[in-house]
Subunit: 382 residues, 2 copies
């Protein structure tokens, strides 16, 4: 068993979420990740709630398995250590506002000259080019400006935020892809590249359906509540004890659904094709709910599953973390504390790979500067 | 200029969204992607609305730049062609229901034996292991079961779907990461690996904040509308002509915001710290809106931006596609038709990389079997 990124070293100057999420994935894939943090405060999220035993569970959830050294990049001695780290690193990752690295003398041009093999990954709100490059951004700003809020929520009500921080996380994921692609190339050519990912760009990149619709119709789609905008039935339905989901994505599945619900609608011209079903979605929803309200979610999920129809419950996060399928896939892992005790839970690594370890625990999120001695010794050993 | 994945060949057996999104990224990064489609129908999304000139704009948005050959994998002659393709490929990607590839005689074990260098990427609803491995899933099912719907929407109202198909897309993105990591390793060892990504797992993997909260408090969070659940102010506000976003993520930004709005609240104990602001979020929202309702969105966005406060409009997709920052970053590209005319728009490549081409156009999405001759000649040339 070898992790696919075993042997790679990542110098991690990131903070908050987009950057740390990227380096968490690289760590889960086996890279050695060294967090270089500003002295005293460190990564902002060390102060983010919720806390457990005085430490941020939020920080732990995305920084497990990393090492930390505190360096003041304006101090000569600390810069010398940093430059030794640069010598040893395969990748540097940062999510400062564009221009910060240049002011420190560690912009891409300088780094590329001094360390040609180094891959440089940057993620920022609006990217390193364009009129708004220097503007600050947070998740919420790009969710709003990037379009995803405009298609999320109920019709005729104010748009809502996606509950997960996809403004940050999607950008962090594209950065991970860019870094890995650049390493593939670097391992052949010996020459590193810079990757520049913007949170705003990344939002547009996930709107495939809305982009296609807007292009063809000239009109931007609005929110469609709990329905898919162009597949029916593909939405939530009420059972006697709450909501569940049915996603009958094609005519064959709709036929099966009609049989399972004992509803003679498959040949009805109002519902025989997906365009017709979309047209008559509200009526169809009522006809289906007139049946499903008669029994429980569990009943319908079991019955429809047996009939091969995609269906499922709406689970809260506590339920997801106990879901037998999630547990069978090792998707909830224990983050240990310094004493080896199970201190927090975190999401596991969704990239399951043959011959790669998939541990059920993660070593602790580091204390600020907590691995200084070990890192300095490693540098000395050359 | 060389694309980082130039020289890699991807054999793409995927359909609908999760798999094709993965291979689109690999194509954008320079890999040669050959879509192997079932004869007659091809990828289901060829029949998905919206259409333009009789062709699916949805299909074009995620399949541009790929080649297509139609092969019946139950036919001996077609299997022989497929096996020649396997000889030449670096990666095979599929998103069939688990078991389908095995029934065709192309399961991971067989492929790994015959083509040890081949990397095998699979994405499915629930993964290739666990009690629900064989169940069908669509985006909506995993958005519901995976937790993201439970934190998206308004408090005390039914949960809503995230408007973007993140059930599929996030999984496709994790698969891309896994494939690239496996290639890095394969290029050293000569041995390919299988990557198995589940859409359900991938949903939990993006709930970092909700997972931390649930772990510490024992209670799952609910939806919080257009607010961040634990940072204030970080939400939408009404101006005289509509909604905009303010994301003042820390005390310093809140102080600047108070100055910009001429609101003497920074030293008020009800608002001096983030925990206090979260406690009094509803009151704070009203105090801020009592000011912002007095002028337009454009006024406040300009004023707050000048003060260094993260802010922005809520844009629909049409507005995003015309956003000067998006255009400056080449994030809207033209997909050409066979005659070289600009036929559709698609999202550009969000992974900006030095010395890699970032074209403003994409070659056409292929007709079904549209590259058969070219692909067979390429195989003959060995």
């Amino acid at each position: 068993m070898t992790a696919p990124l075993a042997g790679y070293t990542i110098l991690d100057l990131t903070h908050v979420l987009a950057g740390p999420y990227c380096t968490m994935t690289l760590s889960d894939l086996g890279a050695k990740v060294i967090k270089v943090e500003p002295p005293e405060t460190g990564d902002d999220t060390r102060a983010f709630p919720p806390f457990k035993d005085g430490k941020s569970a939020y920080f732990a959830a995305i920084n497990h398995g990393k090492k930390s050294i505190a360096l003041n990049l304006k101090d000569a001695a600390d810069r010398a250590v940093f430059e030794q780290l640069l010598e040893r690193a395969d990748v540097i990752v940062e999510n400062y506002r564009p221009g910060v690295m240049e002011r420190l003398g560690y912009g891409w041009e300088e780094l590329h000259m001094a360390y040609p093999r180094l891959v440089y990954g940057a993620v920022s709100g609006f990217g390193h080019s364009g009129p708004d490059a220097k503007r600050p951004a947070y998740d919420m700003v790009v969710q709003a400006r990037g379009g995803v809020m405009s298609i999320t929520g109920e019709k005729d009500r104010d748009p809502v935020r996606v509950g997960a921080s996809i403004g940050d996380i999607i950008a962090g994921m594209f950065l991970t892809q860019g870094i890995l692609a650049a390493l593939l190339d670097r391992d052949k050519t010996g020459i590193g590249r810079k990757i520049d990912v913007a949170m705003l760009d990344s939002q547009l990149a996930i709107l495939e359906h809305a982009v296609a619709l807007t292009t063809v119709t000239g009109k931007a789609p609005g929110p469609s509540g709990a329905r898919h905008p162009s597949i029916t039935p593909f939405e939530t339905f009420h059972a006697s004890d709450g909501l569940f989901v049915i996603a009958a994505g094609n005519d064959k599945l709709f036929e099966k659904l009609c049989i399972a619900l004992n509803l003679p609608l498959a040949d009805d011209p109002r519902f025989a094709t997906n365009p017709a079903r979309c047209e008559n979605a509200r009526l169809l929803k009522r006809l289906i709910e007139a049946v499903t309200l008669d029994n429980t979610r569990a009943h319908w999920i079991a019955k429809l599953t047996a009939a091969g129809i995609p269906t499922g419950p709406i689970q809260n996060v506590e339920q997801v973390m106990k879901d037998p399928q999630i547990l069978a896939r090792n998707m909830v892992v224990d983050v240990l504390d310094k004493n080896g005790r199970q201190a927090y839970k975190a999401a596991g690594n969704p990239i399951k790979m043959t011959d790669a370890p998939d541990p059920t625990t993660r070593s602790p999120a580091p204390d600020l500067d907590g691995n200084r001695g070990e890192i300095l010794r490693w540098l000395d050993e050359g």
